[in-house]
């Protein structure tokens, strides 16, 4: 068993490290902590942060891949992530084709060869409800039992977490009370309760069934939805990582030096901006497709290939989306460069680079933070649309876009196959809603023009 690092894995861990570093940096500085305290006191923001952290934890678990050298391993040589290992039963229990959520029989009728009697009926599933001897009568009771046990488990998990918090309270005072009816602490507790109960329920049901059904090739839809989380998060965050250096450097340079540099940079981003985003992405993806088709030997495995395509998508999205932030940063830098403190620094003989780094950068950072938070959700939504137009992630990558894409044909079936579509949409909606609410809170807390006093 060896550790395998895909490109996006490495970048995800880099991002986690950067986030940690940022938090550590903020901890020691009171003026930076003030807006965060405002966010901590906002129940809606804290509830959505809890959801985001849950999604993030799943994404990070899914970003640590191992190569199992065990030749007995059931799926050959493809590397598995920690999440794959944790979800082994879901991952490996494939049925033949579609089956409805919690079903014990297949979606379509098959000819069951009896002794001379030809019978067309729904065959039993290989795994879903296999424990039932008499499914017609036992099914409902068994589902309630497993679901109930799962709920109890979830409740116990939540109680453990709560107990730990009561036993080991954080050194600084807890429970910052917001102006609403609900303190942010209880909002977190409540969200955690809901998440724990949901996780418990799904785990309980997954022990004997496919809680969200199976897809065309019989793969568990819950497993796919969970795997898609990483794709969504990677697109939402790595794109930002790609975009930031361009936007920061060019925006600040244009605003600070004005003149020729400003003209060139403005020309650059107006040109890029005037190409419709989707078309530029489509063109770039087409080009990478040709490149990858002609250089097949460079990609070790299917997974590595899919991973590189994901990385390319992030790069392309990043290269097409830095213009908006760049323009904002330029405008802000133009304003800052004439302020007294910058003039004073210049009069004291501080070099331009130092002024940009020590005096301008910290003062434009709130703009970066706000726009990163606001962009995240639109990037997650964009992934689905791009995958639908077949210029998104690799078809082999689990993503909500790919799930929705295949749902077009599924809705035309009779009876309707609605569960893959519904699961993808619910998961995506939860993530994007949480991200939107959190982004609003970040904007309110950091934007100096918005309600300074409140």
């Amino acid at each position: 068993m060896t550790l395998v690092f895909f490109w996006t894995d490495a970048l995800v861990w880099l991002l986690v490290a950067m986030l940690g570093g940022f938090l550590f940096y903020v901890r020691g500085r009171e003026h930076l902590r003030r807006p965060w305290r405002k966010i901590l006191a906002d129940p809606a923001a804290m509830a959505s942060l809890t959801v985001l952290l849950a999604f993030g934890a799943i994404g990070v678990l899914d970003s640590l891949h191992f190569q199992f050298t065990d030749p007995q391993a059931e799926n050959g040589n493809e590397p598995l992530s920690l999440l794959d290992v944790a979800l082994t039963p879901l991952r490996s229990r494939d049925e033949k084709t579609y089956s409805a959520p919690l079903a014990w029989h297949s979606y379509s009728r098959e000819t069951l060869g009896g002794n001379g009697v030809v019978l067309r009926d729904y065959p039993r599933l290989q795994y879903g409800g296999a424990q039932l001897a008499d499914p017609e009568n036992q099914w409902a009771g068994n589902v309630v039992l497993r679901g109930g046990l799962g709920l109890l488990g979830g409740l116990a998990l939540w109680a453990c977490g709560l107990g730990a918090r009561v036993l080991f309270p954080s050194p600084r005072g807890r429970g910052v009370r917001g102006e609403g009816h609900l303190s942010s602490g209880s909002a977190v507790t409540l969200t955690a309760l809901i998440l724990c109960l949901l996780a418990g329920l799904l785990t309980g049901l997954a022990s004997g069934y496919h809680p969200l059904g199976t897809d065309k090739v019989g793969q568990d839809v819950l497993y796919q939805s969970l795997k898609s989380i990483r794709t969504g998060l990677v697109i939402g965050t790595l794109t930002t990582l790609v975009m930031l250096p361009f936007a920061l450097l060019l925006g600040m340079l244009a605003g600070y030096f004005r003149g020729l540099a400003d003209d060139v940079i403005q020309y650059l981003y107006t040109t890029l901006n005037s190409i419709p985003g989707v078309l530029l992405i489509a063109a770039a993806i087409l080009v990478t497709q040709v490149y990858m088709a002609n250089h097949e030997e460079d990609f070790a495995s299917l997974a590595a290939r899919a991973d590189l395509r994901l990385l390319f998508l992030c790069l392309i999205l990043g290269l097409t989306s830095w213009t908006g932030l760049c323009r904002l940063l330029r405008a802000e830098t133009l304003k800052l460069r004439d302020m007294e403190f910058v003039q004073a620094a210049r009069a004291l003989g501080v070099s331009d680079g130092m002024i940009l780094l020590r005096h301008i950068l910290p003062n434009v950072f709130h703009i970066v933070l706000i726009s990163v938070a606001l962009d995240f959700s639109s990037l997650v939504l964009a992934e689905a649309v791009l995958s639908y137009i077949s210029i998104g992630v690799d078809p082999a990558t689990h993503s909500w876009g790919n799930m929705i894409n295949s749902a077009r044909l599924e809705l035309a079936r009779d009876p309707v196959v609605w569960w893959p579509l519904a699961s993808a949409l619910v998961f995506m909606f939860t993530l994007v809603l949480a991200a939107n609410l959190f982004a609003d809170a970040v904007r309110d807390a950091f934007d100096p023009r918005r309600g300074g006093g409140t």
Partner: protein, 325 residues
């Protein structure tokens, strides 16, 4: 004014050249025509003659920038860059990789795109502005809070869901409108209702939030207080005074997108099988027809630059304080 317009028009030229260069680099330098031929003809068992034939038919067998074999100006003209990119500057799109005339295709497919995107824009604008004014009218009440939460929720739903869900509910289950399709005549109305309605609904979340911030900025101003002090009703203050003054940012926001309406909507047109430019682009992407994608990239950029120009003009028309110089 005319001098200003001329200057803006001249500024559009380097932008178009930049776009042109960028697309050229993307399509011909990063991947050689050889790669494209291999992609189209299949990866293996391709004879060099087949590749040469494919390239010759599409005019991709010329040198990129400089043709040594020719004499005089021909050295520049008989190159891929001149044939494919400089022609684009004159909006001469040439023919697609499958041999059709792109310019004629675009002229034909423009109208269905417009038939869906123009009503969608107008209806969306009307709905969003009305709803946003309503929300501002109810500001600082529980109703406003609920409406804003609703907007965030609407924004968080994938646009794909609106289309798939709307199509499924209204066309398949209720059978009120046809699922998809297009009819050239006046009968096309029934094909248009659902796509237009869906694009209005999917835009409500972000639209109402945006217009609300515009109105809230106006509401704080002095003339509004004066109007109230004179005893005007709140409704009259909002719908007459605030709306008129907020029209400036609203209008300029809309003018930018007007030229882009010709490009149609990628998603709507492909879901509803409308033969417009959006579905043309999608088809080209999935057929990997580089000539069409290149033409559409260029057309889209040109229309966007036109939109910027129109925005500047519209500023002077609606706001007498703005003088262009």
């Amino acid at each position: 004014m005319i001098a200003y317009l001329l200057r803006r028009l001249l500024y559009a030229v380097p932008l178009l050249i930049g776009v042109n260069l960028l697309t050229f680099v993307l399509f011909f330098v990063v991947n050689s025509p050889e790669d494209m031929a291999r992609m189209h003809l299949g990866q293996k068992h391709v004879t060099t003659e087949a590749i040469a034939k494919w390239k010759h038919e599409r005019g991709y067998d010329l040198p990129l920038f400089w043709n040594e074999g020719q004499a005089g100006l021909e050295k520049l003209e008989k190159t891929i860059f001149f044939e494919k990119s400089v022609r684009l500057m004159r909006f001469d799109f040439g023919s697609s990789d499958s041999g059709r005339d792109i310019g004629a295709d675009i002229g034909e497919r423009l109208w269905p795109s417009l038939a869906i995107s123009l009503p969608a824009l107008l209806a969306g604008l009307l709905t969003n502005v009305t709803l946003a004014l309503g929300v501002v009218f109810l500001r600082q009440t529980a109703l406003e809070f609920t409406a804003m939460i609703g907007c965030v929720a609407l924004m968080s739903v994938s646009p794909l869901f609106y289309i798939i869900g709307g199509q499924f509910l209204f066309a398949r289950l209720l059978q009120l409108v046809p699922i998809s399709g297009w009819d050239g005549g006046t009968d096309s109305f029934r094909f248009l209702i659902l796509p237009v309605a869906i694009s209005v609904v999917s835009g409500i979340g972000s639209g109402v939030r945006w217009y609300r911030t515009l109105f809230l900025e106006e509401v704080e101003k002095d003339y509004v207080r004066t109007a109230r002090a004179k005893g005007l009703s709140e409704a009259r203050v909002l719908f007459v005074h605030v709306l008129r003054n907020a029209l400036i940012p609203i209008l300029t926001g809309v003018v930018v997108v007007i030229p882009l309406l010709f490009m149609g909507s990628l998603l709507m047109e492909s879901f509803f099988a409308i033969p417009g430019l959006g579905s043309y682009t999608i088809d080209a992407i999935s057929r990997q027809d580089f000539a069409v994608v290149r033409a559409m990239v260029y057309l889209g950029s040109a229309l966007y630059i036109l939109g910027l120009l129109l925005t500047d003009i519209s500023y002077t028309l609606v706001d007498p304080r703005v003088r262009l110089s």
